[in-house]
């Protein structure tokens, strides 16, 4: 079991996070389900009465590995929105946009 995915899964369960976060790791829903079953088998979580709860082992694992998932440099995962970047205008300049450029 991949450590990053397990950490993400435990974090989703504990903090009611969005399960689609795991889809970003290129997992199919079936893989996510099987992966969750595996986490039950391995004792990281329990599942009964339609409730999934972290076990002590799960809590420890999450505490240990969660910081690593957040260490990422912002520049690595947020792409600059270059197409919407505009040059700042000087304070006293009056800006008159071209009518044909209006999108409304």
């Amino acid at each position: 079991m991949n450590e990053l995915n397990l950490t993400l899964l435990l974090n989703i369960i504990k903090n009611k996070g969005n399960v689609l976060r795991l889809k970003r790791e290129k997992l199919s829903f079936r893989q996510i389900a099987e992966f969750t079953e595996q986490a039950v088998t391995d004792g990281f979580i329990t599942y009964s009465d339609n409730k999934i709860i972290l076990t002590e082992l799960g809590e420890e694992f999450l505490e240990l590995h969660l910081p690593a998932t957040k260490k990422k440099n912002k520049a690595e995962w947020i792409e600059p929105d270059i197409k919407n970047k505009i040059k700042p205008y000087p304070k006293n300049e009056v800006f008159l946009p071209n009518r044909s450029e209006f999108s409304f």
């Binding site: 899964l9 989703i12 369960i13 009611k16 969005n18 399960v19 689609l20 199919s28 829903f29 079936r30 996510i32 389900a33 099987e34 969750t36 079953e37 599942y47 339609n50 409730k51 999934i52």
Partner: protein, 280 residues
């Protein structure tokens, strides 16, 4: 119920029913999970409850299920029979469309040898209402009306109106053969004097599985879900409120629309787990 809990539950239903082995399982599984993810907690529980009682009969199971239905007859009922005429359960206006009933003719023709109780009987196939009207049924002959699924009985009744025009066809000489039928429709047919040969009998998905007050609450909840399913009004709780829980080669419109019609949330559409190819 959280989305991840619902995903685990649906996967267990897939495993229990061996749905992961079916051809279109990827689409169905992804459809279910995306839908469950977008539903509210109590709506998820309802969808899972219904799915737990759901039947998914794929095309490659038709042969065995249909042969099984044909064999669900006592041999003494066939002792004196020399010939059986088959006719598909269709509405007169649908006569020229390809329907599931006619497709079953192919199975009957190809696998007659598997229907061991019928070895001594000759099979004939009627394809048009004209042929049906021209039929003179002798005492050692029977008429079998066939379809893969019988829902509210609406199509059957239309077909029966035509059958009734032929005075040589009495209800005692007619049998209905299908893979699956709704329980209340079957009861009506039996009361009208028609014997039904079938493999699966389906209960109403909410009404027949719950106490009355609980059933009403769940129906209200389902209607709330349906507010987010464009075009679902005429088929609310399934056509004629059949509350069916079945997908055949195609999903009948008697099935709750949540299983076969697109769900919309915040302007985004979600494909149904058992989408019908003609649904946009």
């Amino acid at each position: 119920m959280e989305a991840i809990e619902a995903i685990l539950s649906i996967n267990r239903i897939f495993k229990k029913n061996k749905w992961h082995e079916k051809d279109a399982q990827d689409l169905a599984m992804e459809g279910f999970c995306r839908l469950l993810d977008s539903l509210e907690p109590e709506q998820r529980i309802l969808l899972l409850e219904l799915t737990n009682n759901y039947q998914w009969i794929s095309h490659d199971e038709y042969r065995d299920k249909f042969v099984q239905a044909m064999e669900a007859i006592s041999e003494d009922q066939l002792t004196d029979v020399k010939k059986i005429h088959f006719f598909p359960i269709i509405k007169p206006e649908d006569e020229n469309k390809v329907k599931s009933g006619e497709h079953l003719f192919y199975i009957i023709k190809s696998f007659k040898r598997l229907m061991t109780k019928y070895n001594h009987i000759q099979f004939e196939y009627l394809k048009t209402f004209d042929q049906l009207q021209a039929l003179k049924l002798e005492s050692e002959e029977r008429l079998f009306l066939v379809d893969d699924y019988i829902g509210s009985g609406d199509t059957f009744n239309h077909c029966l109106t035509e059958v009734a025009k032929n005075s040589s066809l009495s209800s005692s000489a007619i049998k209905v053969v299908c893979i699956a039928i709704q329980e209340d429709t079957q009861l009506n047919l039996v009361l009208e004097g028609y014997a039904v040969l079938k493999t699966i009998v389906l209960k109403k998905g909410i009404t027949d599985y719950n106490e009355r007050a609980v059933a009403e609450e769940k129906k209200t909840l389902m209607r709330e879900i349906e507010r987010n399913i464009p075009g679902s009004k005429p088929v609310s709780l399934g056509y004629n409120e059949t509350e069916a829980l079945i997908t055949m080669a195609r999903t009948p419109d008697n099935t709750f629309p949540i299983f076969w019609k697109k769900f919309r949330k915040e302007g985004k559409y979600f494909d149904a787990p058992f989408a019908r190819y003609d649904e946009q």
